[in-house]
Amino acid sequence: MRRLRALWLRVRGMFASGRAEAEFSAELESHLAMNIEDGVRAGLSREEARRQALIRLGGMEQAKIAQRERCGLPVVEALGRDVAYGVRTLRKNPGFAIVSILVIAIGIGANAALFTVVRSVLLRPLPFADPDRLVMMYGHNPDDPDSRNVVAAGDFYEWQKASQGFEQMAIWRWSGYNLSGQKNELPEMVSAAYGSWNLFSMLGVQPVLGRSFDPNDDKAGASRTVILNWGLFKRRFNGDPAIVGKTIRLNSQTYTVVGVLPGWFTYPDPEVQLWTPYRLEENPQNIESHFNHMGHVIARLKPGVSREQATQQVSGVQHQLFLRYNNSGPVVAGVTSQPLVNEVVGEVKKPLYILMGAVGCLLLIACLNLSNLLVARAAARRKEIAIRTALGSSRARLCREQLTESLLICVAGGAVGLVLAVWATRWLTTRWVDMPRAEAVHPDGVVVAFAVGITLLTGILSGLLPALSATGRGVLSALQDASRTIGGSASRASLRKVLLTAEIALTVVLLVCAGLLFKSFVRLRSVDLGCRTDNVLTMKFFLRRPKYAQPEQIVAFHTGLLEKVRALPGVEGAGLTNVVPGDGYYGDTGIRFPEHPPLPPGVHQFAIYRTAGPGYFSAMGIPLVRGRVFTEDERGMTNDKHIVINQQFAREYFPNEDSIGKHVFVSWESDPGDAYEVIGIVGDTLYALDQPVKPMIWFPILSGNPVESVDAMLVVHSRGRDVTPLALPIQKLIAQMDPDLPVSRVLTMEQIVGESTANSSFSATLVLAFAGLSLLLAAVGLYGVLSYLVTQRTTEIGIRIALGARRTQLLQLVMLDGLRPAFVGLALGIAGSVGATQLIRSVLYATRPLDAVVYVSVIVTLLLAAAAACLVPAWRATRVNPIQALRAE
């Protein structure tokens, strides 16, 4: 307590005026005077008494210093003085201060923002109970070490029965419902998932309202139940707890709401709005099937069991199934697994780490730049520092002062950077399509601590080198070169060149990586999908039972819609499909060829599964290669055994024969399935931009087959004009035909393609921006060093001119001086890039890490920037007036 009081008084003392000091002087004076008086009284002469008193009492000044130090806090005061001094020197050079603060702010802001994202997305464990024991299980083909297949429900139930290493195993699959209103609310298509009853309890998730599913819900024929996600509960049902126990309408059937999930639960995707029980919703054939792979399996390891061990055992079970069933259909031969967190984080890991690397480089470059500027400043203050050293200032004291200056810049930069980071984080998470757990990304204490940490580190890193170099031995020599020295501080200039070389090398690495990413993005973006992408509008809808239980009902809706849409003004073509090119894999189907010799048992053939109606291929601009496409004749389930295939299908499965008129067996749910006749071949289209062409097969959507035709995407083409104004009239048309039918994914083809390239465009643009910024910083650094050198060498240049040097020679001299670090940095940077680009290899599309075009353009860009930065100082050197230069010092 007493100590604290004393400390407080001393803190206050720091701000006290000189009054206390005057008082203390008076007190000492009176002490002395009384001492002298006593001496006189004892019989000494006044002089003698004074002499003795002064000897006895010691130095008055020392006492005052001791008193002053005791009254305040000398350490803090010195720091305050350093800060005040730093602020003053920075204020004298506002340009320098603002530029360096901004540079550091961008560096720190970018790092803090990326760190926020990386921390929330990659580092923070999943919000589930004991997340380390949760694993994701996949079907696995031993021939392909990277293969990870979704799981057939039949396999899953066998695993569940036989597994020993897992406490529990749960399965879920994607789904969607038409959620229609009870009282005229708008219908809505909601993303949903079926989950086995134990899914939530296995994850350790408790519904916030109501209950979880129990085994009685998860049965075929059980009464229909649903669990709502928090978002849907809040949005559609106003967050009213009374909804639990009431019913809602999904696909025109009533479901009882049994629970509501907590808001933080966003697995597997924030878009999922509700959950239904697996066995209740999945059709019975799929549940038994070992051939229909659609399920995602999560399992919880028993404590102390390793993932490899447990997976191995399940894999053994699967191998038995493979041996038993593979002759009648496609069964995976093995099982593999990975920690759940890897699966959740999946695809963003690599790009995030690349961005993190890029911003790290950026900060390092900013650091080097600041360091460089500070070295220049220190050089300008050489004499001041020398004089202070001569007067007894310690090296530590001088270093501290310089460090304070760089720390001040960095703290200011860090503060601005943190604000930038908050804003940048929000921007990043909204721009990044499909970032997992994006809702959990926000800056918190740890992020602030990180920002403070890197701020201090930046300050010390960038301040230390200049401080040490400016105060080392030989400082005093500055006093000697008072006049007439030429090229005095060569060593300091060479330090700057070393810093500059490092900066340029880093910039080159960044530029090369950015160049490669950008090229990869451009390649991806310019990939020909194989169809029209401009002026095409799409919208998706599902015709659900029981309203569309009969094929006639489905066909009637489809034909009616197409007829009305085609009648709209501006519509050039319209058609129906299930999935347009570039919108994903969706699904495949097993096929066999009756006209071909039978395949060896266990070998299976597949094609990507699509549907199409009349007018689809022309509206989409997919060229017909041979034969014909669907007409209005392929209608109803009596005349639907016709298919259209793509060229890849013909190449792969009919290599040496004409495929038209041949038959393909498609096993839907039963063996041997139906024989379909090939009526036409169309051009290849890509299902995803960065994936190779696969065999594809189209079935007639107007068959009305309840399996194939309910899932529809309307495609509308409008020639030469914007197609988006058509969206609203078409949506109104659909609402007139069926007010309960929700429409989703109202998108243009450009948007669909853009969606799939958005992330690569995003990271390429960001890295490119960072690289551009680094280039600018490097150029500024180069310019600064060279300007400084020219000023230093003015006299020398003056002498050279006086002795007859030509201007071109001088230009050459200075340019070479500046370009040398650029060349060395370039060489080092290229060498570094060869290594660094191997790390980003896996995210590049159709671009080799050693792409000559990228390297050459980086070299040219860098040399141009370097030359531009050198030109001004060099030109200035040639303008030196020899008379003035010689007179200058």
């Binding site: 007493r2 004393a6 007190e27 000492l28 006492a63 009254c71």
Partner: protein
């Protein structure tokens, strides 16, 4: 007294407090004289020793100071104990006595062993 400074730091505060307890209110010079006399002139206090000790005691709240006039009508700063100071004298004196008592046992000839 050899190297006096070490003993000083720890004990000066107590000497000052004890002096003020005996004498009531007193100025710096008076405190110094009193301590010197009490020590039989074995100690000599200069500015640099006395005043930091006084300041520290004042900052810790054991003594207060105010300006007054000396016997010779000279302006001087007078120090006196606060209530906390009076308690502190007792406590520190007791501590010191205990310490010296313990030390005395070590230094006394070991006869009863």
């Amino acid at each position: 007294m050899g190297n006096k400074a070490d003993v000083w730091q720890g004990t000066l505060a107590l000497m000052v407090l004890k002096t003020l307890e005996t004498m009531g209110s007193l100025h710096g010079y008076g405190i110094a004289r009193r301590i010197e006399q009490t020590s039989g002139d074995l100690l000599s206090l200069n500015y640099g020793t006395l005043y930091p000790a006084l300041l520290k005691l004042e900052q810790e709240g054991y003594i207060t100071s105010s300006w007054g006039a000396s016997e010779n009508n000279r302006r001087a700063k007078y120090y006196e104990l606060t209530r906390a100071g009076k308690k502190q004298v007792k406590k520190e004196a007791a501590d010191w006595e205990q310490t010296t008592a313990i030390l005395a046992r070590f230094l006394a000839p070991a006869e009863e062993a």
